[in-house]
Amino acid sequence: MVQGIAHRKKQYVEVTALHDEEGLVAPLAIKWEDGRRFEIDEVLDRRRAAALKVGGTGTRYLVRIGGRETFLYYEDPRWFVEAIVPDGAA
């Protein structure tokens, strides 16, 4: 277990995305539950994958947000992230 992280939970999020004429979907920004908005700087990888930490499957985007890399899943029609539940937050 990573220090400071109790576990992860499946957190559905609001996403702004671009659907191009080929049908490809590119996420542009994520809106967090508290209203904060995070622009996605770059999509580094895109593949179908199981979300092993929180369960479920979908198109997994490896995205860079503010210099950090994280996974964003498109479950069609919903988007989710593997949100960190910090130690002590139960």
């Binding site: 179908r48 994958a49 199981a50 979300a51 092993l52 929180v54 369960g55 479920g56 499957t57």
Partner: protein, 425 residues
Amino acid sequence: MDPVLSDRIILHVDMNSFYASVEQAEHPELRGKPVVVGGEEDRRHGIVLTKSIEAKPYGIKTAEALWEARQKCPGLIVLPPHYHLYKRYSKIARAIYYDYTDLVEPFGLDENWLDITSTVQLHGGSALLVAREISERIKAELGVTVSIGIGWDKITAKFGSDYKKPDAITQITRENYREIFWGAPVRDLLYVGRATERKLHAAGIETIGQLAHASDGYLQRTFGKIGFMLRSFARGEDTTTVKSYDARRCDVARQIKSYGNGLTAPHDITCERDAKALIYLLAESVAQRLREGGMRAKTVAIAVRDAEDLTYYTRQMHLGASTAATMVIADSAWQLLVDNQPLDEEHAVRGLAVRVTSLIPSNGNRQLSFFKDHAQEDLDHAIDGLRQRFGNTCIQRGIELTDEALLGLDIKNDNTVHPVGYLHR
């Protein structure tokens, strides 16, 4: 069963403990725990639909009562089924299989046959390589495991996927089949159920290899035609092809085995004219649904219900070539009725049903006939187009106008009696 150059390469991919595995993939906290998916527990007659790999050591069996399962395994996690999830996983898995071949035939939600004979060269040239890649992709993309059998026909492939579970690959080859396939108990062969097994045991046939060597006389006496089929399975001589389905759908839930429609007539049928009107009306709706489903049929069946004692019988005939033409189906159904049922006051009929089976996709290959007029199906398609735009009664057959009670009846939309319900009530 000597090696054959033209051997096919068939894979059978079986998703292990499917419902339970999907639940565990969706809820990681359930991983490693004994889980069963069971139906309708609050009605007190819930049964185990699927058990997780971890539930097996407790001796929990599929189809046993949930209370029994709980007794065997205190703390057992029982979940209600979530079919939309299983369908989704099944669909994604099938999409993965379609990356390797266009011949993917489902056998329920969790099993599929793949014929990779002509595509294996595109994927590294080795069946084992393809099987490994599929297995790894299913694990990475869906978070569940599969067992895969590789054989030269559907039977040996299916046997292979059952041979070792979970998360395993078994290749049955011309070199190892005598040991693995022939040495296995005869119940491990597809379609050998408990009753068949008992009969085979009574004749001293314990293994698949012994069945492969059973005599004509014994098989004919004990099983009839089915006996020869089972022996050909055991000999690895099954020639059944892996059927092609619509790849865009990837959806096994839509797999339909028959189309049918039946009607209890507005009044008892006592003359040929009324019977013919009803048969044509029913055949027309059946053919229309068949075409909408993108299928052709090779068998036409009728069911006839007696007005006196309400018993029914069924008759069926095989067509020379598959068809979706209304006239062919209607004429065949009518022929069946005329051949089997006197139509007069003495033998009043309460209801009739028409059903077509042995379906094949209409976009697949099919045997054409030199003698049949294929314009018939074009005409039907034109009529279907009119009906789609203006309603089913916008154009009717002359014969249907002969019975006033049937006039204006939209049999396709107003009457959707399920054929099974009609035939087996």
